[in-house]
Symmetry: C2
Subunit: 257 residues, 2 copies
Amino acid sequence: MIPQKTFIEVIADGEGIFQPSLSLDCVIFGFHENELKVLLIKLRTNDNWALPGGFVFKEEDLDDAATRVLKERTGINDIFLQQFHVFGSANRSDWNIHRSNLKKDGIEIGPNHWLLKRFITVGYYALVEFAHVIATPDSSSEDCKWWDINEIDELFMDHKQILDKALDTLRLQLNHLPIGYNLLPQKFTMPELQKLYETILNKTLDRRNFQRKMTSFGILKRLKETRKGGAHRAPFLYSFDMRKYRKALKQGLHGGW
Amino acid sequence: MIPQKTFIEVIADGEGIFQPSLSLDCVIFGFHENELKVLLIKLRTNDNWALPGGFVFKEEDLDDAATRVLKERTGINDIFLQQFHVFGSANRSDWNIHRSNLKKDGIEIGPNHWLLKRFITVGYYALVEFAHVIATPDSSSEDCKWWDINEIDELFMDHKQILDKALDTLRLQLNHLPIGYNLLPQKFTMPELQKLYETILNKTLDRRNFQRKMTSFGILKRLKETRKGGAHRAPFLYSFDMRKYRKALKQGLHGGW
DNA sequence: TAGCATTGTGTCATAACGACGCATTCGATG
DNA sequence: CATCGAATGCGTCGTTATGACACAATGCTA
């Protein structure tokens, strides 16, 4: 865990090192036990959980900043990360709550402090392999863990709206991107892939039609192994055919569920 | 034309009235004589043409700022306007060119001037009815006019990239949104609508299949009038059925061309 | 070893799609 | 005013994609 001193330093020096009034928030999706999960952090200064976010260094590309935040929270380097929306309401940031909470924490900031200014935030969403993530709180938070997408009611500030927008975007992109690759382990079964789609789309799909369509994309390789131990007939394992997968990424999948 | 004094004032006072280091740029699409057009402005301080843009007032919603810029440039109030991407490279803004050009214009700014700082810009695209637009230059520009989408090679800073990204987005959205409504006059013919789609997609479509698909959406009303004077058989006029149109907007059109 | 739940594979009717034919209608032409 | 060219309205046909469902195969369990 990063020592709290860093947190105080950031609070003090932020104005000099970050792009002013600009933040980014990451909606990090994972898939585990047939449930879609989101990685959230628990701020020390607020009761609600929040999306992991950060600020942009003065000389840093926006996308690089998002990659950095993700790396810091998950330990993962090379992941699917995509900007999806900017949230720019004039009244979206209410850091005054923060201010009083910071005070409890022993940190005092003036009324003109950079953190209290109005912030625009850029939303990114990421798709990561659940098992590879090492959830790591940042210097401002006391916890960092996965939440089931359906168990999230209220979040810090407008983060719930940001999450919802990310989900909408994900659903739209599902028809254009072969999304499974980033969320599933290297080897997976067709039922697992289907569950992923069903969870994201929030509807049930016909098992046989799903398989037909999925294989028709030609981006899957059926392995010779099966997943034993499932108390029933052992399903085949699949993996993505990276060559065809990348090709499909460019052209779009043209799906309709 | 707004007097240049305002321009000088904005340059001088910008830091106090705008969100820092944040701008927005609008890609305003129109359709005229079977060509897709974009509204561009000619900056006084630069040789290249640019996208109309602006800054965000400290108390102003980001979307409101975009609406305001659009209103100022086109005179149109109620239009289709959508945020599509944030451009946040650290080196994207090179206002130093600006600085020397401003100098020629008799305006001197110091090295720490707010305009010279790094800017993040939010891209919006708008669909407007060509004939309704009254192209109006802003205080920093000497001209404002429509350009054919295919005649644009180089633009100010990274504006060409922004334009290209807007076009990509428009093509993607074409399958989800009944886009014609915003770009065509209230009454239009099927060949006109088809030309619009062909122009945006940059490919030819089969006349009969286009008609079949378009009508199958059920968002068009065929009027009893025809467009005479076209040197050939007079095509029927159509208009959008707003009730069904709005319904379709929510559900998506599920098209594939 | 029988039973059960789940997976693998196939069928069938219907809808959507792409390519194309033909008759109709407008202005232009003489 | 009859004829022609060009564009439009409307329809056909074969192929493919889709949605709903049947049946056999497999692996654990009792």
